[in-house]
């Protein structure tokens, strides 16, 4: 790592990057380079380290080890401003727009000093600039009022304003319809012809392989090799993306009765980032939701719980669900286990007991006074059954491990007794292997009692092992449904990367 190496035409050269977040090794000794006039695809499953790699290359994150060279110069100071100065442009998956400001103001802020017009000419300049990219976006409108597709294209236009030598695109087509993708690719290819190097992160293999020259695969933060796009098949790439060793067992899946009652029925439900979605989940069924991050899975789940706004109908046990606020679904027996455990699911400083019983205090009270004895008796059996590891039930829940925290939030649906639907978002994220099985078992136990469970997970192995059926979401809609007898990591990943799109819908 000590010698800088020979001078090449690489516009981006990343060497030996490692980065850990706490105990999680997001990247381990990863190298990638991008030549002038090349599209280099970077593919991998959710959580394989693609975004971390882009974050480091663009200066937003500092690596633990390794170097970044942009246009032949070493990025010494890890800041987005420094990376921009060296000639790097990036279009973030979740954008860099100041939503309160207008489109023109956002473009103006993104422009480097030599490309910037006088302040007063901002509007006409913004209009012309967007026209050169063949974009028709109202420049005076607040950016927050734009449709998501426009926001995504504006993000790319902003990155191009600096006339970068290398352009990083992080899932740039998530909000685009198929016909817009072609237009977008024309725009990118035009830049490539002018000598820009593009690092293109996408989970949509057919899309990205149609334009990429080379492709690098990441799995679990480790590079799996770089290949000529023309000489590698989608199947081979999928094989490189999957194949983590199986480290955890799954509970037995009882056969589903042929015609179990539908508990959760969704018709034409749509929100800002998903829909329309039609779906039925039956009694005793665990339904998995797969998809690349940011394709509407989480907003859909949250809309069902009344946490995000949506239009359309959802019903539980035949009764229409009032999703205007979280209170409606809760009353109807629809419980959300949020993926944001500390922020939404739990009260970190309150005790295990208080967190477990908070929804059923009335039942545990006499004359308005909550009886501690009743509370403890109510949870003691469940604490044992779910194997919550703790010193005492008076311990603050934040002092438990991630897995045990999740188990505490799982006590709630057991305590209520009237739960009909459990919506679980990443139920085992940040959970150690030992606790995972307990959580799977708890979800399966509720299903066996007749509850319908919907599990959104970014881990295909988990979905394949736990669920009775998996739906795959892309651009906010259900694009595939995988029945139990077909479930497997490979089958799910293939559906996510779109290599078997249309195989069944």
């Amino acid at each position: 790592m000590s010698n800088p190496g020979p001078v090449t035409s690489d516009v981006l050269s990343v060497r030996g990057l490692s980065k850990a977040f706490g105990a999680v090794q997001a990247l381990l000794d990863v190298s990638i380079d991008c030549r002038s006039g090349e599209i280099h695809a970077l593919v991998g499953e959710n959580g394989s380290g693609k975004s971390t790699l882009l974050g480091i290359a663009s200066g937003f994150l500092a690596p633990d080890e390794g170097t970044v060279e942009i246009g032949g110069s070493r990025l010494a100071h890890h800041s987005p401003a420094a990376a921009r100065r060296l000639g790097l442009g990036i279009a973030y998956q979740d954008y860099s727009h100041v939503l309160d400001l207008s489109v023109a103001e956002n473009l103006f802020l993104a422009a480097p000093a030599d490309a910037r017009p006088a302040y007063g000419q901002m509007q006409s300049w913004a209009h012309e600039t967007l026209a050169t990219f063949n974009l028709d976006i109202p420049v005076a409108a607040p950016t927050g009022s734009l449709p998501l597709a426009d926001r995504q294209l504006l993000e790319v236009a902003k990155a191009l304003l600096t006339k970068p030598k290398v352009l990083l695109l992080d899932e740039p087509t998530t909000a685009l319809g198929p016909q817009d993708v072609d237009g977008f690719h024309t725009l990118v290819l035009e830049q490539v012809r002018q000598g820009v190097g593009v690092v293109y992160v996408s989970h949509r293999l057919p899309e990205v392989l149609a334009v990429a020259g080379r492709v690098t695969v990441l799995r679990d933060g480790v590079g799996q090799g770089t290949f000529e796009a023309a000489s590698v098949s989608e199947d081979e790439l999928v094989a490189l993306m999957i194949g983590r060793p199986l480290t955890v067992a799954f509970p037995e899946r009882p056969p589903l009765p042929e015609r179990a009652d539908v508990v959760l029925a969704v018709a034409g439900l749509r929100g800002e980032r998903f829909g329309p979605v039609d779906l039925e989940v039956r009694k005793g069924e665990i339904l998995g939701i797969a998809g690349a991050e940011g394709n509407g899975q989480v907003p859909f789940l949250r809309a069902l719980a009344g946490v995000e706004p949506a239009v359309g109908t959802a019903s539980c046990d035949g009764a229409k669900l009032d999703t205007r606020s979280p209170a409606g679904p809760l009353r109807a027996g629809v419980v959300l286990l949020s993926g944001d455990r500390k922020g939404e699911a739990l009260f970190p400083v309150l005790s295990v007991r208080a967190n477990a019983t908070i929804q059923v205090l009335r039942r545990l009270a006499r004359g308005g006074i909550v009886l501690r004895g009743r509370e403890r008796r109510a949870i003691s059996g469940l604490v044992e059954r779910l194997r919550v590891r703790m010193v005492s039930s008076e311990q603050p829940v934040q002092s438990l491990s991630g897995g045990n925290q999740q188990k505490v939030s799982l006590i709630r649906p057991f305590l209520r007794g009237d739960v009909k639907v459990i919506l679980a978002e990443e139920p085992t994220q940040g959970v150690d292997v030992g606790a995972r099985f307990d959580i799977y078992e708890a979800l399966r136990a509720k299903a066996d009692e007749g509850v319908a469970a919907v599990v959104k997970s970014s881990d295909p192995i988990e979905l394949a092992g736990l669920c009775d059926r998996v739906i795959v979401m892309s651009r906010g809609r259900i694009v595939q449904e995988i029945p139990r007898h077909e479930l497997g990591e490979r089958r799910i990943v293939e559906a996510i990367v779109g290599s078997r799109e249309g195989a069944q819908t």
């Binding site: 802020l109 993104a110 426009d150 685009l176």
Partner: protein
């Protein structure tokens, strides 16, 4: 655009309405003596509020400004005594500005480096400065150089303080900067969405630190005018912390950051002082002023945020509908 003008129009209307009402009650209100004292009395609050507006623009609060003003008054009773003259007056004045810069940096470090919420960090600074003032002067004591104070309060036409004209011009120029230049836009961007601003390559840390230093320096300049008013090293006179936030908010600043107007702040600070000034004409106790100011802040917040809340509600409905609409891109 209409939203930006609302505070300016409202404040101007209130100032004129209250003035007409006061003039109808007592001809003394528009006398040269009263106008002069009203304009001079308004200066400390106007200056400190314009500083506060900068802190609000980057999404912070500075509640230590009043304590800093007081500390500067006390300090002036040591560095700008009646016997100080010549070059010592310059260094004595620079000491006050230096304290402003120092306190600003101290606040900025607490907020940016040690990541304390700005309201908590500056509350701590407030306490330290209050204690420091009382330690230096246990009670009002130590006259302040009258050459300095009379130079600061010099008037033309017998009633119009030059400093007031300067402050109005500065407020107008500062608004021009905020809404007509890139660095002004950058300040608003950082206050609205710091993460996006950083991604666009802006030095967000430097901008926030600078904002808090400017806020403190403005407070120490306000301290000069407070000193000119009391003319003695009083450790217990500054109480403009809430009023300065009130003035910035009435003048159009958003508590969430990213929006504000220096000219609006100037008008609002003047209006708040006007309330204090006219109450004696009606033989009303000054407690009413405090109650009126509190009620006004709440009213202004509701009034100013209302269009935004309505727009947000509408756009969340619209953007759901927009999902199915064909995208406009080529």
């Amino acid at each position: 655009m209409t939203r930006a003008w609302l505070p300016l129009v409202l404040m101007t209307a209130l100032i004129i309405a209250l003035g007409i009402y006061a003039d109808a009650h007592s001809s003394a209100f528009l006398s040269k003596e009263n106008l002069s004292s009203l304009l001079l009395a308004a200066l400390p609050l106007i200056i400190v509020s314009m500083g506060q507006a900068v802190a609000l623009l980057v999404g912070g609060f500075d509640v230590s400004v009043a304590a800093l003003m007081t500390f500067c008054v006390v300090l002036a009773s040591f560095t700008l005594t009646p016997t100080t003259s010549g070059f010592a007056l310059v260094t004595g004045s620079l000491a006050l500005i230096g304290v402003g810069i120092g306190v600003g940096l101290f606040n900025a470090i607490l907020i940016r480096v040690l990541r304390l919420p700005s309201i908590v960090a500056t509350l701590g600074t407030l306490s330290i400065l209050e204690g420091g003032s009382l330690w230096l002067r246990g009670y009002p004591q130590g006259a302040i150089n009258t050459d300095v104070t009379s130079a600061l309060t010099k008037s033309v036409l017998g009633w119009l303080p030059i400093a007031f004209v300067v402050v109005v011009a500065v407020a107008a120029l500062a608004d021009g900067w905020l809404y007509r230049t890139r660095s002004g836009l950058a300040l608003r961007a950082v206050g609205t969405d710091e993460r996006s601003a950083r991604r666009l390559g802006m030095p967000t840390g430097r901008i926030v630190i600078l904002a808090f230093v400017v806020c403190s320096v403005m407070a120490s300049i306000a301290g000069f005018y407070l000193a000119a008013e009391v003319q003695v090293g009083s450790p217990i006179i500054g109480n403009q912390a809430l009023e300065s936030i009130a003035a910035a908010v009435l003048g159009g600043a958003s508590l969430a950051g990213g929006r504000g107007s220096f000219f609006g702040t100037m008008l609002a600070a003047f209006f708040l002082t006007e309330i204090d000034n006219v109450l004696p004409f009606f033989q009303q106790p000054t407690e009413y002023a405090e109650m009126a100011i509190g009620a006004l802040i709440l009213l202004a917040l509701v009034l100013y945020q209302a269009p935004e809340l309505i727009a947000r509600f509408r756009s969340s409905r619209q953007s759901i509908d927009a999902v199915d609409a064909p995208a406009t891109a080529a």
